[in-house]
Symmetry: C2
Subunit: 173 residues, 2 copies
């Protein structure tokens, strides 16, 4: 069976396709697939072992939720560059050191979105530059408190939980 | 400004909308939103402290990736029921005990998908029942090895990393 890919929508962030293809077991399958440019997310850790969290309005969550600074890759942009750029724009800090924490599939059942995760240290303050559609504030909490927020369900964003937990493992290793 | 929601596509798993609305700061915004029924994912932990992982073909990942057993909610289905059902269908085990680990937004920039996470124990073997489009095998690894796979980038699925890390915190508390 040959592949068949039908574009349903080409939007600002997502492209939706209906894709027919052959599974490794030889059977035909058809799925809905959101093709996404990918993103970067970063845990900004201060010398005092505090984390800069973003409290952001998300229509998908019907309100404000906590996240780490993050954003999608510009065309052709390297993930590290994106992480540093979003860190400046959203959290108003520049990082002296960026350590990779890995990359995740956010929800591989229907999207190819990959988010590259980083730990940022040696931070210095710069000017925050928000887009018009970004409604958010920066909240500084201790690293332990941020981990606790994940456990208690106060921080429910998957990329942020992954990044904080992987940063914790890195820092303890 | 009044809300305006335009349906682009109503599919088998996802519904795509373009939604115009007013932000909390009063500014107008338009976003692409995938409305999703939600899902459940579960860490099956044996008495020997092994985890049953799923190695599944995912077109979004262009190959096989490791995940914990998971699946989307049927209409009207409770998350706990979904978790137990997917555990039987995908991993071929029935759980005597299910503990909630919280719920996550997989990628709130463009979808309202929430995945409910659980830890399952007191497992007994039942018959695995796969859908035609599920190409997967069950792999049993130690809990410590599963955590290590997250750190080393061998397990890159966000819900699974969140579930394993939160289970680890629960088991250590």
């Amino acid at each position: 069976m040959s592949e068949k890919v039908r574009e349903i929508y080409n939007g600002r962030v997502v492209r939706l396709f209906v894709e027919s293809f052959e599974l490794p077991n030889g059977k035909p399958a058809t799925i809905e697939m959101i093709r996404h440019p990918g993103a970067a997310a970063v845990v900004p850790l201060t010398e005092e072992r505090d984390v800069l969290l973003i409290r952001q309005y998300r229509r998908a969550a019907s309100g404000f939720i906590y996240e780490v600074p993050a954003g999608k890759l510009d065309p052709g942009e390297e993930p590290e560059h994106c992480a540093l750029r979003e860190l400046e724009e959203e959290a108003g800090v520049r990082a002296g050191t960026l350590q990779a924490l890995g990359s995740i599939f956010t929800t591989p059942g229907f999207t190819d979105e990959v988010i590259h995760l980083y730990l940022a240290t040696s931070l210095e303050t710069v000017r925050q530059r928000l887009d018009d559609d970004e409604v958010l504030s920066v909240e500084r909490v201790s690293f332990e408190r941020a981990l606790q927020m994940c456990v208690r369900g106060e921080l429910r964003d998957a990329k942020s939980i992954c990044a904080l937990m992987l940063a914790d493992r890195l820092l303890r290793s």
